[in-house]
Every structure is written in C-alpha cells, then in structure tokens.
C-alpha cells in the first residue's frame, strides 16, 4: 500500500488528479476540508472576478485590449443565448455566463504547470450538470405546469405505443445530466493523462525524446482549444436544455 502510494505520487500519470487535503475541516458528519480542488475553485472565482472587474474598471468608450476581452466574452454568451433560446432566455444570462466562465477558467487553469484541473473530476462536472438539469426541469414545470409531462409523449403517436415510448423518453431525458457531465470530465481527464504519459517518454527515450517533446508542444495547443471547446459545448447544451424547457418543443 505504502509503496504503491509513493509510486503513484512520483510517476503515475494519474497522480495529478489526486485530491489532497490542505486544511482538514469537519462540520458534523460532513467533511468540508479545504482540498487542492477547492483551492483551485476559489482561485478560479477570484480570477474571473478580477478579470471582469478590473477589465471594466475604466469602461472606456473605446475599449482597450483587456476591456475588449471582457466585452467579447459578454457578447459571445449574449449571442449564444439569443440564437439558441431567443429573447425569453435573457433572464437566465447571469447563470449561463457564470457557468461558461467557471468551466472555461477551470479548464484554462488546468493548463498551467503544477495546477489541479477540477473539471477533470466527475463529481464536480456532475454536480454542475445536475444543478443545470434540476433548474431547467423546475423552470419547465413552473412555466408549463402539467403540460410539461406531454414532453414525454410526442404528438401523433398512437396510444398503444405509449407504454413503450414514455419510459424511453423519460430515460432519454434523465440521461442528459450524465452525457453533459461525462463529456466535459472525460475530455479533460483524457487530455491531461495523455500529456503526462507522453511527458514521461521524453526522458525515457534520451535523444529521441525530441519526438514526444514535439508532440507535447502540439498537444498543449490542442488542449487549450479543447478547454475552450468543452466550455462552449457545456454552455450551448445548457442553452438548448433551457430552450426545451421554455418552449417544450
């Protein structure tokens, strides 16, 4: 056990995902310790606040570079909501913007050396997906009342199909938070593991280590693209679910 642990700490490509307790805290029976994961979540929230507040501090009419980035991210999400949900999606802008920025900064923080990628943990992504799913379902029920349940019975389907179709539709609906969370988590986990594995080859191959080294350089670029892409996918799926909830189509 002990030998295995030291091996994992030193060389395993999965050691980077290990949760380390930094400040042990216990509230009742619940473990609320400050771990490296929660430290990076706090850092992400602080970084986002800093990025937005400091970027808009001067709020010039002609924006500088920093202010342009802030405005760009705002407009990007605003257009995304306008295109996928429509004008009814306006009230949910703060939530969707928060989700996007949190996932994006979490992914990008993971690209820095010696950091911890909290989006590579299914617990984190599934909790976020579960809140999106519950929130969207509650919005749909609040807006459409009992008509929400016609969602599971497409019109024009013969009645005798209902006993088969309704369970299928319900399972299809319930599988949404899983596919939403697994997509983000698996992409981050796979990318970071792949990088560590290839980084391990560099010294093992001696002079020929230049090949995996070049690969790592390319992979780092790809990983940054994936960090943006997965944040975008998570956000657009949230928007599509919200659209379904508001329009029941």
């Amino acid at each position: 056990m002990r030998g295995k642990k030291t091996l994992a700490e030193g060389h395993s490509p999965l050691a980077q995902f290990e949760i380390k307790t930094l400040i042990p805290l216990q509230v009742g029976d619940i473990n609320v310790s400050i771990t490296n994961s929660s430290v990076f979540m706090i850092a992400t929230v602080l970084a986002i606040s800093l990025f937005l507040v400091m970027g808009m501090r001067r709020s010039a009419l002609v924006p500088g570079r920093w202010q342009s980035m802030v405005e760009l991210s705002y407009i990007f999400i605003a257009n995304l909501i306008k295109d996928t949900v429509g004008s009814e999606g306006r009230p949910y802008f703060p939530f969707i913007f928060t989700v996007f920025m949190f996932v994006l900064f979490g992914n990008l923080f993971g690209m820095l050396p010696y950091t911890f990628t909290f989006t590579s943990h299914i617990v984190v992504t599934f909790t976020m997906a579960l809140f999106v799913f519950l929130g969207v379902t509650l919005i749909a029920i609040a807006k459409h009342k009992i008509r929400f349940f016609t969602f599971f019975m497409p019109p024009g389907v013969p009645m005798y199909m209902a006993p088969i179709l309704i369970p299928i539709e319900i399972i299809s609906y319930l599988s949404r938070p899983i596919s939403l969370s697994v997509r983000l988590f698996a992409n981050m986990l796979a990318g970071h593991t792949l990088m560590k594995v290839f980084a391990g080859f560099i010294f093992a191959l001696g002079v020929f280590g230049i090949a995996p080294w070049a690969f790592i350089v390319a992979l780092t670029g790809l990983e940054i693209v994936i960090a943006f892409l997965q944040a975008y996918v998570f956000t657009i799926l949230t928007c599509l679910y919200l659209n379904d909830a508001l329009h029941l189509h």
Binding site: D83, F151, I171, R183, A186, Y232, N243, D244, H247, H249
Partner: protein, 128 residues
Amino acid sequence: MSDDPDKDILDELGNRLEGARNDHIDPSKVKNNHGLQNGNALGLAFRVGVELISAVAVGTAIGWGLDYWLDTRPWFMLVFIIVGGAAGIINVYRMASGFGYAAGYQKENSSTSSVSGIRVDEGKEDIG
C-alpha cells in the same frame, strides 16, 4: 470634376460594405445553429458513445432500483437495460438528425418562437 471618381469610390465602398455585411451575417448564423453538428469525426464518435452509454446506464440504474425496491431481481433490470438501449439509440438519432437534444420533438408549426422554428428548419435540411 472630382465628383465622378468620388462617387465611384463611394459606390464601390458601399458594395464592399454590403458584401462584408452579408458575409458576416450568413456564416455566423450557420455556425451558431450548427455549432454542435460541426467538429471532427473523433468528437462525433465520442459524443455518440457518450449518448448511448449514458442512456443505458440510466436505464440499468432505474431497473436496479426498482428491483431493489420491489424485490424482483433481476427482471426489471433486464427490461430497463433494453429500454435504456432504445433511449440511447433515440438520443443518437436525434443528435445525428439535427433535432438537437429535444425529447419529444413536435411539429414545426407548434413551436412558439421563430428562433426554435429556424432550428427545426435547419435540422430538416440536415436530414435531406
């Protein structure tokens, strides 16, 4: 004297602006509506896999839960694995055919906003 060249230049600029505007609007619309449909083949394959597996997993979990509750092991689980597989295939079909992730797609004319109408339209173009 200098009226004519100026007018030509302004007309040309007008045309270019018009062209740029059209260029700008069309791709962005297409891109935003098809954002998920694009992407590389590996990403598509991965999404198909996730959609299939997650539905089967949910079906299995529901079946297992019902069995645990009603003490009928393993019958509900066997049934719900198959139902989950069907749900997974429906998920993949919807994803591939451009209906998005909507459960229970309805007729185009019953959609309440023009935005979702556009999405349904473009989804149909994908099939054809």
